[in-house]
């Protein structure tokens, strides 16, 4: 057993010594601009960069926490409990932009007249008390709820909104979806479908984003509402490193914060840091 451990350790060290590549893993939401930035840096600075999306945000945190990658991508705030899991790693988040989680529905639901949802209704669906779109003013059709996997940044932001704290979300068993591509594909191809998805992926043709109903007010996930955090499910997009970014990781993070990097954020439908600061109203 001990010999085996030593052999494994040797193997890993050999891999670690050999690999000079900058490794990045995590959220499929953050992946889009990051992957494109990686292409730019490969061409401009001949850096070797591998970008992966294993396990979403929690995958990003665990792979950065364990030191398997230099940068983790997460589409949620870096919570204290995340840091506490890897006390030696001194995980540090650098925000590179802002996004929002939308509750998206399939085209048939949208066309039947459901355009907004309240927090109570979302809870009702999550707790299987509301099972028909009739109760939200739509057609008589079953609600097919695809739940984002727990562990995904999108799920955590949604559960924090619906229940105040994602740990208070009641146990639920729904068909689960993982990455953004999978979510959009499954919602758009299923009648009566609903799920949580990055708002920039809600394209208004395959899937539609519902506005949030707060009392009489209907709040859409517009850039201004996201930047001002008026839209409740706004979220930061972060790069997580062990300690302050250094070496190649610093080159990459700096690139994401530079003008070309920030342009990539906007290109993929997210808010750049400048937009966030310009539009942000003082938090209540």
């Amino acid at each position: 057993m001990r010999i085996l451990t030593v052999l494994f350790a040797l193997g890993f060290t050999a891999v670690a010594l050999r690999a000079e590549a900058l490794k990045i893993n995590g959220s499929t939401t953050v992946n889009l601009p990051v992957a494109e930035a990686a292409e730019d840096l490969r061409a401009e600075k001949e850096m070797e960069i591998q970008v992966d999306t294993q396990g979403g945000s929690s995958g990003g945190i665990s792979s950065a926490g364990e030191g398997r990658v230099q940068i983790g991508m997460i589409s949620k705030p870096l919570a204290d409990e995340d840091k506490a899991k890897y006390p030696d790693a001194n995980l540090t988040a650098t925000q590179i932009g802002e996004d929002a989680v939308a509750i998206v529905v399939s085209p048939d639901v949208w066309e039947s007249g459901v355009h907004a949802i309240s927090k109570e209704q979302a809870q009702g669906i999550y707790e299987s008390r509301i099972k028909n779109w009739k109760e939200l003013g739509g057609e008589d059709r079953r609600i097919v709820f695809f739940n984002k996997e727990p562990g995904r940044g999108t799920w955590e932001v949604f559960a924090n909104w619906a229940y105040g704290d994602h740990k208070k979300a009641p146990p639920a068993s729904f068909p689960e979806v993982g990455g953004n591509e999978e979510t959009r594909n499954k919602v758009s191809s299923t009648r009566g479908a609903m799920s949580q998805l990055s708002s920039s992926w809600a394209d208004g043709s395959q899937v539609y984003a519902l506005a949030i109903k707060e009392g009489d007010e209907i709040i859409e996930a517009t850039p201004a509402n996201i930047a001002g955090h008026k839209y409740a499910m706004s979220r930061p997009l972060n790069l997580v490193t062990r300690g302050e970014p250094g070496g190649q990781a610093k080159v990459f993070v700096d690139y994401m914060l530079s003008e070309p990097g920030q342009k990539l954020m906007v290109k993929h439908g997210y808010l750049s840091m400048a937009m966030l600061k310009a539009d942000a109203e003082p938090a209540p």
Binding site: M1, I3, K186
Partner: protein
């Protein structure tokens, strides 16, 4: 030096070999390492999953509910999902696969036989994520629309996973089945034909009975592959926890979403489990059970294919 070895080797031998050659040592070391890897993994998994066995005991195996935040861990629905999906795959793939094996081995001329076999084996080389994407792009939607009458909730069903797996295990069954049939000596067939049996009768009464062990092994190894497959199933099965059917033999669960041992392990939950002793142990325990089941099937398959068949009467 050579003389000394010859002397040591004894009078009868022409040239005795050195007792410890470098090649022998190296191959022994490699063999031991491979075996140690297997047992090391089993031991590691068993050791890491101790907390869950201590806390839940048998209800970990037999429990029908899994709510990790309430620390309720029962794997039965996932075992059911794994078995159901594998069973669907075999029901579809075994007849087709064995039929193809008979066709390839008994009817095709040698030149075509190799071509057909290579073609089918190429299917085995397609990465499973490609199967998964094909499943998500086409199969899911076809089944969703095609089974509209039964009102499936979505295209994520055990059936979708099963059909996808059937295609994936087909090459295993065909190629091993063909090997099993080819292992039946040609003279037996000649003798049967000489006695006046038709070609079909020869296959039915001579080739198939003698290859029986190998054919069962082919199916079992296919089953092992089906049980262990992850990514392709992951994308089309829906990954819904706690799907224990109310009536075990009803077909309704087949058109509902479910979860298998592998899809649970492939999901994001493993990242949440990390650092939480009990939850982590529960996830690792799933891996242990999966390894044991697949290992058992593979061993059974290997044993059956090697077993000496009693001479056909």
């Amino acid at each position: 030096m050579i003389r000394a070895q010859v002397a040591a080797g004894g009078a009868g031998q022409v040239a005795a070999r050195p007792r410890f050659s470098a090649i022998a040592c190296l191959s022994w070391a490699c063999t031991l390492l491979a075996v140690a890897c297997l047992f090391g993994m089993l031991a590691l998994f068993a050791w890491q999953s101790v907390p869950i066995w201590e806390k839940e005991g048998l209800s970990y195996l037999a429990g029908k509910q899994w709510f990790y935040r309430n620390e309720i861990f029962g794997m039965l629905p996932m075992v059911y999902g794994s078995l159901a999906v594998a069973a669907i795959a075999l029901v579809l793939a075994a007849p087709v696969g064995l039929g193809a094996a008979v066709g390839i081995s008994e009817y095709l001329p040698n030149s075509l036989r190799l071509g057909a076999k290579v073609g089918i084996e190429l299917l085995a080389g397609v990465p499973s994520v490609v199967y998964g994407l094909l499943g998500i792009l086409f199969l899911r939607n076809w089944l969703y629309e095609g089974l509209d009458y039964f009102e499936p909730l979505s295209g994520d069903m055990l059936l979708t996973g099963g059909i996808l797996l059937a295609v994936m295990v087909l090459p295993t069954i065909v190629t091993l089945g063909d090997d099993a049939l080819r292992a039946v000596p040609f003279v037996h067939r000649q003798a049967a034909r000489g006695l006046g049996l038709t070609r079909g009768e020869t296959i039915l009464h001579v080739a198939l009975p003698q290859a029986r062990g190998g054919l069962i092994a082919a199916v079992l190894l296919g089953l092992g592959r089906a049980m262990g497959e992850t990514i392709a199933v992951f994308l089309v099965i829906g990954r819904q926890d706690n799907q224990w059917p109310e009536r075990l033999w009803s077909l309704q669960p087949v058109i509902e979403a479910g979860q298998t041992l592998t899809t649970k392990l492939g999901g994001s939950e493993i990242n949440i489990a990390y650092g939480t002793t009990l939850h982590w142990a529960a996830m690792v325990g799933l891996g242990l059970v999966l390894m044991l089941v697949v290992g058992l099937l593979t061993w059974l398959g290997a044993w059956l294919s090697r077993r000496k068949e009693p001479d056909a009467a």
